[in-house]
């Protein structure tokens, strides 16, 4: 089990009103899973992803990552956790506009400072190739289509070989054809490289590919479907591969 969420609550105060964004979510997530979190707008999907990604802290409840409790971390500790273990894919891609495709993909590794310059370059080029963007390395985001930008965002998310990839509505801004390509790409990478993918989505296409679909309503888990017919999850049961998580003292947490 890579992640265990127990009784997670997240309340916000909006004037006199208390908003229950998450109201007691308990969830186990296995390594290498390809999982969708669905639900209507305002149901708490993004809040759940933010809490898993340590962008936000729960009001109550416990999160275990690889069996370790992520307690009340300082801002810097949360940055370290994100730096080494988590990657994000955003709905509106959020590439850094002043960096080229290659530099955008290299960015997480440069921030992580774990590899040499040459290793960073090789790995970024490998990922750019894997998402089918060879030849665009020196282009800037403004010179790319939406689909290409999201591919760059996927390459950027995967380049540091994270244990968990959190994708918030990754296909929402794409046409259906491109969305299908992107979902196929992520499913393939999940299968080949074993990173755990957790999506928040409204997209039926994403849900179709997901091995597990968790539905949230009003901050609570409404249903949790494990799908037999969907494409298989990544190699979570095999011995730790390139993307499979394991205790890694160099990565902290």
């Amino acid at each position: 089990m890579i992640l265990q969420l127990e009784g997670i609550k997240r309340y916000y105060q909006k004037g006199a009103e208390t908003i229950h964004a998450l109201d007691g979510v308990t969830l186990d997530i296995e390594k290498g899973q390809f999982m969708a979190i669905v639900g209507p707008s305002g149901s708490g999907k993004t809040t759940l992803l933010n809490i898993i990604g340590c962008l936000d802290s729960p009001t109550e409840g416990t999160i275990r990552y690889n069996g370790q409790v992520l307690g009340s971390m300082t801002e810097n500790e949360r940055s370290e956790y994100r730096k080494h273990h988590i990657s994000f894919i955003f709905q509106s891609y959020n590439l850094i506009p002043v960096l080229t495709v290659l530099e955008n993909v290299e960015l997480p590794l440069v921030i992580e400072r774990r590899l040499s310059r040459q290793q960073i370059r090789n790995r970024a080029l490998d990922l750019i190739h894997a998402v089918g963007l060879e030849g665009t390395e020196n282009r800037y985001p403004r010179e790319l289509s939406g689909g290409q930008e999201q591919r760059v965002a996927i390459a950027r998310a995967l380049v540091k070989e994270p244990y968990i990839v959190l994708a918030d509505e990754p296909t929402a801004n794409l046409d259906s054809h491109t969305a299908e390509e992107i979902v196929d790409l992520m499913a393939r990478i999940n299968k080949e490289r074993g990173a755990t993918f957790i999506f928040s989505t409204h997209d039926a296409l994403v849900q179709k590919h997901a091995r597990r679909v968790v539905t949230i309503r009003d901050g609570k888990i409404f249903s949790d479907d494990r799908r037999e017919g969907a494409p298989a999850d990544g190699p979570h049961n095999s011995s730790p591969g390139r993307f499979a998580p394991q205790a890694d003292s160099t990565r902290g947490v």
């Binding site: 962008l55 936000d56 810097n76 955003f90 002043v98 530099e103 290299e106 960015l107």
Partner: protein
Amino acid sequence: MLWKIAWRNVWRHGKRTALTIVTMTFGLGLFIWMDSMLKGMDRVGLENIINLTDSSLKITTRQYEEEGGYSLDYGIDRLQEVESALKEDPRVLAVTTRTRALGQLSNGRYATPVLITVIDPERDRRVYTLGEYVEGSWFPQDVAAPIIVGKALATELGVGPGDWITLAARTRWEAHNARDFQIVGLLNAPEPSLNKGTVFIPFSVGEDFLELDGLRTEISVRMEKRTNLAWAMADSDELAHRIEERFPELRAKSFGEVGRAFLELSKAKSKGASIIILVVLLIGGLGIANTILMSVFSRIKEIGVLRAFGLNPRQIRRLFMIEGAIIGLVGSASGLLFGLLLDLQLIVYGFPLEAMMGNIDMGLPLSGNLYGEWNPDAFVVALSLGFLLAIMASWGPAKRASKMEVTDALRFV
């Protein structure tokens, strides 16, 4: 990577950045230019002290110095001995003696108080450069009672070269005396006090006119020129000290002593200019703060992404501080270049201060153009000031960026 992102972001909004840099360039350029002009004024002022009023070293008796008022009661007794002692010093180029007294100059209708300086025309020229500023002649041999009058004074009395004028004074023995002198030249030196209230007569006439009997109230000394102002001041200080040691009854006032007092006064005068420069730099600082703040606001989502990928608040702050520093460095360098060009113009062609100011008395040595002075200190100050200003101005916006909640930043549209 932070440097790369910062550098490219600085130029991403080129117009905004350019405007800030132009403000800094203008501010720092003006600072260098004004500093050069003030230094030029200082230089002219110091040169005037040596060349026109006080020489490298001025020796009087202690009573004469303490009492003031140009009394003829306190002549230098061991004149020959002092002159010999001075000439022993290889740094001494020339020595002359003077006697000063108060008097009245009259054109027959009006009279005005003046300072009479009795000089040895030949020896005086080797110590002072007054001769260069005389319109007319420097004490021709064929005029029996020649006088050189300050130009402003002559204008006030409506007289000019060739005119006769009456000079009245008390002699050494307290007798009233008056005599007609023929104006042979008008002194138009870059030192307003000389032009306005001084007349010069030679000892050949002055001895008799003031009943001096060889009385000399001042010894003026010209010392060799040094390339460095501080060395020149130290030379004159050292010689003054030696003379006072050897002749305890004398007061030797070095050019260093007079110069330092002048520079202190000049520093006070330049405070007004500093305020103008501070205002310009403040505008530049606000420009930088605004540019960085705009940059923060236009990149809130980008800040969220960088935080999501693991940059901590300190690194986010550093990113924006680097942007401020880049603007500061480019702005300072550009200001320095602009300042150097302005400075070059001021040093080579000068500033027509006299033409612009006309007859307004600013207490400044005005004569033709005022030339600037290279001052490497000002370049260093301009560079560091611009850079520090940029760092200080970026601090607030950078801190704001680092304090942003990641979730809020990512949600920002």
